[in-house]
């Protein structure tokens, strides 16, 4: 069966550093650069219908707003108005760029 999703307890947009810091229930902390998050936007506009998630470069991506979606995902609204990406907790966790997660990555 499917594993229970990881749950974030805090999402902190640190504006001057241009990063989003996510603290997970188990204490794990990951810092996501805004450009990195935007590039891996999971929406169909960015990803099309391909089978693999790809990185779509968006120069100078700035984050405007973060909101919770239901009880299972996060929506980022970017300053250019793009807001169709719904990052499920699972997906967000799979993107975690910290060295520890990167080592065990099979994305």
């Amino acid at each position: 069966m499917i594993m229970a999703s990881p749950i974030p307890v805090e999402i902190n947009h640190r504006k001057e550093k241009g990063v989003v810091r996510v603290t997970w229930e188990d204490g794990h902390v990951g810092e996501y650069g805004c450009g990195y998050l935007r590039g891996y936007c999971p929406c169909a506009l960015c990803q099309g219908h391909g089978a693999k998630i790809k990185f779509v470069e968006v120069p100078d991506a700035k984050l405007a707003e973060i909101s919770a979606v239901g009880n299972y995902a996060i929506q980022f609204t970017w300053q250019d108005g793009h807001n169709t990406g719904i990052y499920t907790f699972d997906y967000l966790k799979s993107l975690c760029p910290c060295p520890e997660c990167n080592r065990s990555k099979d994305r």
């Binding site: 229970a4 974030p8 805090e10 504006k15 919770a68 009880n71």
Partner: protein
């Protein structure tokens, strides 16, 4: 020989995990009625659904955890189930407070067998022992009255001074459908606002009573009805029905992006019409190829809950108003439905646990 105390037993049971919720059964509050008298230990494990797929495993793990304890001479584990609510989403109001879980059975397009799947899964959940209802929201082509073999206008009854519609019962399930209010050959040609009103009535004015699960057969596609549902009901999750072709991926993409928009989590995908077993040669024919839905599930990390074959009996008995599960409960296809219902119930338990935990999320900007 040492004496056993409640604390010792609880401490030992903390090593037993619910494999789906991935937390121990003590902190999940699943251990009830614990009694320790001398060396006798008795308790009830309250599962989060009577359709729990993992009951035997939990029982085994409990035994393993306690058998080694010093002083335990007798062990009695019984099982109960208390379905937990998992309602989430953007809906501001909850029109159905007495219903714990609302599941939308949906697809990105028509003709994939949503209604058949919805009806049989509702019957399966009921057979597992959960209080279940079935709501046909397919306003364009309500087929639940035919599949479940019920017709006629529901009775009006008075509940707490208000007039409500009493859902007729078919095969032990309360059933409501817009089809009950239409002549058989009449088509629904309403515009949006009328649709919204009719749906609102189907949700608010029906006396469902206490239900663990309400299975909703959605109209095909991505539109008005789906939005109305997400805004007026607290929906637990959506179950997508897809067919095996490669275009299934495109349908799933559509349905997923819609449910993301309205903030309803997708709790699973089932593949319908997966294969046909020829009654002449006994060979499995994969008419529409196979595995498209499973690939789509992998791609979007949605739980894949199972494959349902095409058989002529499912169609035949559906047309006669008897779901295959009622007619041939021992058949392979019925077992498939029961298994899928278990997995669905398990996923809803996971969703409810996530919903509870996610409530404490803090979003800040510094």
């Amino acid at each position: 020989m040492g004496t056993v105390t409640r604390d010792v037993v609880l401490e030992a049971l903390k090593k037993v995990q619910d494999p789906e919720l991935q937390r121990d059964i003590v902190s999940l509050g699943m251990v009830k009625n614990l009694e320790v008298t001398g060396g006798k230990v008795a308790f009830t494990v309250e599962l989060t659904t009577p359709a729990c797929p993992l009951r035997e495993r939990i029982q085994e793990d409990c035994q393993k955890a306690l058998v080694g304890l010093n002083g335990v001479t007798d062990l009695q584990i019984s099982f109960g189930a208390q379905v937990r609510g998992s309602k989430t989403g953007a809906g501001q109001t909850d029109l159905l407070p007495s219903v714990k879980n609302v599941i939308l059975v949906a697809a990105g397009k028509g003709g994939v067998g949503k209604s058949t799947v919805a009806a049989n899964l509702a019957v399966a959940l009921k057979m597992h022992g959960a209080a279940t209802g079935l709501l046909d929201a397919d306003i364009y082509g309500p087929s639940i009255p035919i599949i479940m073999g019920v017709k006629g206008e529901p009775k009006k009854i008075e509940v707490n001074g208000e007039f409500k519609l009493e859902p007729p019962t078919a095969h032990n399930l309360p059933v409501m459908s817009i089809g009950f209010f239409l002549e058989p050959d009449q088509a629904v040609i309403w515009r949006g606002p009328m649709l919204g009103k009719a749906l609102h009535q189907l949700m608010a004015d029906v006396h469902w009573g206490d239900l663990d699960y309400l299975v909703v057969d959605m109209p095909p596609g991505t539109g008005d009805v789906q939005i109305t549902f997400s805004q007026q009901l607290k929906v637990s999750g959506a179950l997508l029905v897809a067919t095996p072709q490669d275009v299934a991926l495109a349908d799933v993409v559509r349905a997923k992006s819609m449910f993301d928009k309205v903030m309803i989590p997708i709790v699973g995908i089932v593949e319908n019409m997966s294969y046909f077993i020829c009654d002449g040669c006994g060979k499995k024919h994969e008419i529409f190829s196979r595995g498209g839905a499973e690939r789509a599930a992998k791609r979007f990390k949605i739980p894949f809950l199972g494959e349902i074959p095409i058989t002529s009996s499912i169609r035949e008995w559906g047309d006669k108003g008897v779901p295959i599960l009622v007619r041939e409960p021992q058949s392979e296809i019925s077992r498939t439905f029961l298994e899928i219902a278990s997995r669905l119930a398990g996923q809803l338990s996971v969703v409810s646990e996530i919903a509870r935990r996610a409530q404490s999320l803090k979003i800040i900007s510094s």
